[in-house]
C-alpha cells in the first residue's frame, strides 16, 4: 500500500508533497470554518455582532434578550421597566404557563424564563444570572421533568448562551468552554450562518419559526394555535414517551439542584416546584408495561424532591404528573407533554392553593 514509491527519491518527494498539501488544506479549511462561524455567529454563541440576527433561533438566546428588555435593564420602556418579582423556570413543558395568571394570583410581576430541555444546571444559571444583576426574584415557579436527574453532560445549550454560560455552576465552566470551542467547527452552525448571510442580503426569506414569545416570555405555538382557532388542530399524542429505565438519580445533577436551592435560600427566594404533567394516554400506556419503569422513575424523583422539602425551608413540591392532581383537561394538550395555557392556568391555581 505504501511501498510502490518507497526507495525511489522522486516517489518519496511526491509523497511528501502530497502529505504537505493535505495538511495545509486541512489546516486552512479548519481555520476558514472557525473564522466564518465566529464572525457570522448565527446562534449568538460568541460576542461577535458583525451580522444582524433575527429574533429566532435558539430559545435561550431569545429568552435572555426578552428578560433583559422586560426587566428594563436598558430602560427601553417605562411600563416594562423594573425587575421581575417572580420567574417561571423549567423546560419547554412550562413555557405555556402564563406570567399574567401568576400576577393575578400573587400580584407579583412575572417572567416566563423556561426554555427547551432545561436541567438543574439551567435552573441554577437563570437564578444566578438575576442575582448577579442584583435583582433576585421573590418567587420561583419551577417545573421539573422526571428526566431532569438523568446522568449526562452539562446542558450545552446554556453553556453556549453567553449570559447563562457565565452564570452556570463553576464546575460547568470547562465543559461550557469545550462546547463553545467545538461549536466553532460545527457544520450546523456554518449552514445556519450561510442562511443568515443570504437572508440579510435579501436572497432568501427568513425561515418561519413555529413559535413566538410575548414580552413576558409566554410561548405560543403559532401553527398549532392557528389550527385550534380554525378547528383543524389534531393533538400529536405519542404515548411512548417518558424515558427508559433509570438506575439511579445522577449525583452531579442532584448536587447541582441542591446548590440551586441553597442559592435560593441564601437570597430569600421561595421555590414552588412541581413534576410536569403528562397526557393521560401516556400514563395509561405505561401502566401496562411489564416493568413499570415510568412509575419507578416518577417515584424516585418525587421521593427525592419530597425529602428536600424538609431540608430547604421555602421549597415546596407537588407531583402533577397526573393531570387529576391539578384538575387538568386531557383535551387541552398539544402533544404528550405540552399543554395549553388554559391547562397551565389550572396548574398554577392548584399549585398556589396547595402550597399556601
Amino acid at each position: 500500500m505504501i511501498d510502490s514509491t518507497a526507495g525511489n527519491e522522486h516517489g518519496r518527494h511526491a509523497q511528501s508533497r502530497f502529505a504537505l498539501t493535505f495538511l495545509l488544506t486541512v489546516s486552512l479549511g479548519l481555520l476558514a470554518l472557525i473564522g466564518f462561524n465566529f464572525a457570522v455567529n448565527p446562534f449568538g454563541y460568541y460576542p461577535t455582532l458583525l451580522v444582524r440576527r433575527p429574533a429566532t433561533g435558539q430559545d435561550r438566546r431569545v429568552k435572555m434578550d426578552l428578560l433583559r428588555e422586560y426587566s428594563g435593564v436598558y430602560g427601553t420602556a417605562e411600563d416594562r421597566g423594573g425587575p421581575v418579582d417572580a420567574i417561571i423556570v423549567g423546560s419547554s413543558r412550562v413555557m405555556t404557563l402564563a406570567p399574567e395568571t401568576l400576577r393575578e394570583l400573587t400580584g407579583l410581576r412575572t417572567f416566563n424564563a423556561g426554555f427547551s430541555d432545561a436541567l438543574p444546571e439551567d435552573y441554577y444559571a437563570v437564578l444566578n444570572q438575576l442575582i448577579r444583576r442584583g435583582t433576585p426574584p421573590k418567587e420561583i415557579v419551577l417545573g421539573i421533568d422526571i428526566i431532569a436527574f438523568d446522568p449526562g453532560p452539562v446542558n450545552q445549550f446554556s453553556a453556549l448562551t453567553p449570559e447563562l454560560a457565565s452564570s452556570l455552576p463553576r464546575d460547568s465552566y470547562l465543559p461550557g468552554l469545550v462546547a463553545r470551542a467545538k461549536s466553532l467547527l460545527s457544520y450546523g452552525q456554518t449552514r445556519r450562518g450561510v442562511d443568515l448571510l443570504l437572508q440579510n442580503a435579501g436572497r432568501k426569506p427568513p425561515e418561519p419559526w413555529p413559535v413566538a414569545f410575548d414580552a413576558d416570555g409566554l410561548l405560543h405555538y403559532v401553527e398549532w394555535e392557528i389550527g385550534i382557532a380554525q378547528g383543524t388542530f389534531v393533538p400529536e399524542i405519542n404515548p411512548d414517551v417518558g424515558g427508559g429505565r433509570l438506575e439511579e438519580l445522577d449525583d452531579a445533577r442532584r448536587a447541582c439542584f441542591e446548590r440551586f436551592l441553597t442559592l435560593a435560600r441564601e437570597n430569600g427566594v421561595r421555590v414552588r416546584a412541581f413534576l410536569t404533567p403528562y397526557h393521560p394516554a401516556v400514563l395509561a400506556y405505561r401502566a401496562v408495561d411489564e416493568v413499570d419503569w415510568f412509575g419507578e422513575r416518577r417515584a424516585a424523583v418525587a421521593g427525592y424532591l419530597q425529602g428536600l422539602e424538609k431540608q430547604y425551608p421555602g421549597f415546596t413540591f407537588d407531583d402533577f404528573t397526573d393531570i387529576e392532581a391539578f384538575g387538568g383537561a386531557s383535551d387541552e394538550f398539544f402533544d404528550s407533554v405540552h399543554y395549553f395555557s388554559s391547562n397551565g392556568d389550572r396548574l398554577l391555581a392548584a399549585l398556589y392553593r396547595m402550597t399556601e
Partner: protein, 502 residues
C-alpha cells in the same frame, strides 16, 4: 473513545503520536504506545482497562509456561488454562447475562441472578488476539514475547483495540524490527488517505443512512412492504459495510502513523458470488481467525462430508454468537452456516458429476470453500460463465442483505416482520411516507444509498490507495483535505461504530 470525536482527533491523537515518536528508545516507544492504549480504553471505562490487563497478562504469562514446558501434556495443560481463562472472561462479561436471562425465561422463575456488567471495550477483539498468540506459541509458529511490554505493545495497539482488525501477534511481530525512527512522509500520506476515506464512509454515508432510512424503517417493521422492506435491508447493508470498513480504514491509517501495516479486513464483499467467497471478502481477519483456530482444529474440510458440514455450521454459528449475546446473532450465524453447508454440498455434487469446472462457475466461486482462497474472476471466465457469475453475485448479495436484517433487528420478531415485508406479503410497500422526509431529502438520501451500493460493489479503499500512491496528485490531496474538513464539521453529534458493541 471514538475515532470520530474531537477529543480523539485534537487531544488524544496528537499527544499519543508526539509521545510515541519522540521517545528516545524503542522500549520507551513501546511504553508510550501501551500507556496510550490503556488511557484510550480506561478513559471511557477504567474497568475495561483492568479486564484488558487481566486477559493480556494471563496470556503472556501462560504462553511463557507453554514455551518452557518440556512435556507435551504440560504444554497442553497451560494452553488449555490460558484459552479457558480468556474464553471465560469473554463468557462472563459478554454471554453470562444472556444465558442466565434465557434460562430464567425458560424456567419461568429467576434461577440465576443477572450481573448487568458493562461489556469491556474491545474484549471480543483482544481476547481473540490473546488466544491466537498462546496457540501460535503452542504450535511453535512464534517465539514467546521476551517481555510483557513487547507483547502488550502489539496486542493493545490503540488503532485496532476496540473494533479490530484482528491483527495477530504472529502476523505483525515481524514489523517491529523494521520500524522506522520517524513516521515518514510516505506513511503520513497513506495515513491521510486511509483515515479520511474511512471517516467519510462512516460519517457521510453510514450515519446519514442510519438516521434517515435504517432506524425509522426498522422502528416501523410491522408496516413495511416490498419496497420499503428492501430499502431498509439495502440501507442497513450499506450502512454496516460503510461503518465497519470505514472504521477499519481509519484503523489502518492510524496504524501507519504508528509505523505498522495492519491487515486488510474487506475486499469488495458486495461483489462476492457465493457464500464461501463472501467470507473471504467480509471481515477477513475474523473469518481467517475462525478458520485457523476453530474450523481447522474441528477437522476442517478434510474429513467426511457430514463432519465437514458440521464443522462449517458450528464455525459460523459461533462466529455469529461472537457478534453479540442475542438470539438474532445466533440465528444470523446459523443462517450463514446453512448457506455454507449448502454451497459446499453443491460443489461436491458438481465435482462428482464431472462438471466441477462449470459447476464452480455456476456457483460463482472456488468450490474448495472457505479455506481454499481460489477465485473465479470475470476475466478468466467465458461470456456464459460471466453471466453465471453475475447471477451468483446478485443471489449472494440478496442473501446477505436479508441476513443483515436478522443481524440488525433487536429481536427475531422484528426480523421476521421486516423479512415478511421484503417478501411482499404486505403488498408493494410504496409507503415511503413512513420516513417522514421531504421529497427532495428522500430523493437525495436514496441517491446516497445508490452511491453507497456503487462504492460497495466497485470501489475498494486499498485499490484506490494504490492508484493514488502510484500517481500522488496535489488536486487529490486538496480534495481529500477538504473531505476531512467536511467530516470534522460533522462531528458535533458523534455516533458510535456498530462494531464497537461487539
Amino acid at each position: 473513545m471514538l475515532f470520530n470525536s474531537y477529543g480523539f482527533l485534537f487531544v488524544f491523537l496528537p499527544v499519543a503520536l508526539g509521545l510515541y515518536w519522540t521517545a528516545s528508545s524503542p522500549g520507551r516507544r513501546k511504553l508510550a504506545s501501551v500507556v496510550a492504549a490503556y488511557f484510550f480504553c480506561g478513559v471511557v471505562s477504567p474497568a475495561s482497562a483492568a479486564v484488558m490487563l487481566l486477559v493480556t497478562g494471563n496470556s503472556y504469562v501462560l504462553a511463557g509456561f507453554v514455551a518452557r514446558a518440556e512435556r507435551q501434556r504440560s504444554r497442553r495443560g497451560w494452553l488449555a488454562l490460558s484459552v479457558g481463562l480468556n474464553l471465560g472472561a469473554l463468557a462472563l462479561f459478554k454471554y453470562y447475562d444472556f444465558l442466565a436471562g434465557s434460562l430464567n425465561a425458560a424456567a419461568g422463575v429467576p434461577v440465576l441472578p443477572l450481573l448487568r456488567w458493562a461489556l469491556p471495550i474491545g474484549i471480543s477483539f483482544y481476547t481473540f488476539e490473546a488466544i491466537s498468540y498462546t496457540v501460535d506459541v503452542y504450535r511453535e509458529k512464534v517465539a514467546p514475547a521476551p517481555r510483557f511490554l513487547d507483547y502488550a505493545y502489539l496486542v493493545t495497539m490503540f488503532p485496532k483495540l476496540v473494533a479490530g482488525p484482528i491483527a495477530r501477534y504472529t502476523g505483525i511481530v515481524g514489523q517491529v524490527a523494521g520500524l522506522p525512527r520517524r513516521v515518514g512522509w510516505e506513511r503520513a500520506a497513506g495515513a491521510a488517505r486511509f483515515f479520511t476515506l474511512g471517516m467519510a464512509k462512516k460519517l457521510l454515508i453510514a450515519d446519514t443512512l442510519a438516521v434517515r432510512l435504517v432506524d425509522p424503517l426498522f422502528a416501523e417493521a410491522g408496516r413495511l412492504g416490498f419496497v420499503t422492506g428492501w430499502i431498509a435491508a439495502l440501507a442497513y447493508t450499506v450502512q454496516i459495510y460503510m461503518d465497519f470498513s470505514g472504521y477499519s480504514d481509519m484503523a489502518v491509517g492510524l496504524g501507519l502513523l504508528l509505523g505498522f501495516r495492519l491487515p486488510r479486513n474487506f475486499r469488495l464483499p458486495f461483489a462476492a458470488a457465493s457464500a464461501g467467497e463472501f467470507w473471504r471478502r467480509w471481515h477477513i481477519t475474523l473469518s481467517s481467525w475462525l478458520r485457523d483456530y476453530l474450523f481447522i482444529p474441528l477437522g476442517g474440510s478434510r474429513c467426511s462430508r457430514g463432519r465437514a458440514s458440521l464443522n462449517y455450521f458450528v464455525t459460523m454459528l459461533l462466529g455469529g454468537l461472537w457478534h453479540g449475546a442475542n438470539w438474532t446473532f445466533v440465528l444470523w450465524g446459523a443462517y450463514h452456516g446453512v448457506a455454507l453447508v449448502v454451497y459446499h454440498w453443491w460443489g461436491w455434487l458438481l465435482a462428482e458429476t464431472g462438471r466441477r469446472g462449470r459447476g464452480r462457475a455456476a456457483a460463482g466461486a472456488g468450490a474448495a470453500g472457505m479455506a481454499s482462497g481460489t477465485q473465479v474472476g470475470p476475466r478468466s471466465a467465458g461470456r456464459g460463465q460471466r453471466w453465471l457469475r453475475l447471477a451468483g453475485i446478485a443471489v449472494t448479495f440478496a442473501f446477505t442483505a436479508a441476513g443483515w436484517v436478522i443481524f440488525r433487528a433487536p429481536n427475531i420478531g422484528v426480523a421476521a416482520s421486516v423479512l415478511k415485508g421484503m417478501a411482499g406479503l404486505r403488498g408493494p410497500g410504496l409507503n415511503t411516507q413512513l420516513l417522514e422526509l421531504p421529497p427532495a431529502t428522500l430523493a437525495w438520501t436514496l441517491a446516497l444509498l445508490g452511491l453507497g451500493l456503487v462504492i460497495g460493489f466497485t470501489l475498494d479503499t486499498w485499490e484506490l490507495d494504490d492508484r493514488i500512491t502510484a500517481r500522488p496528485r496535489w488536486a487529490v490531496a486538496v480534495a481529500l483535505g477538504l473531505l476531512l474538513v467536511v467530516c470534522i464539521a460533522q462531528l458535533a453529534a458523534p455516533s458510535p461504530f456498530v462494531y464497537f458493541r461487539f
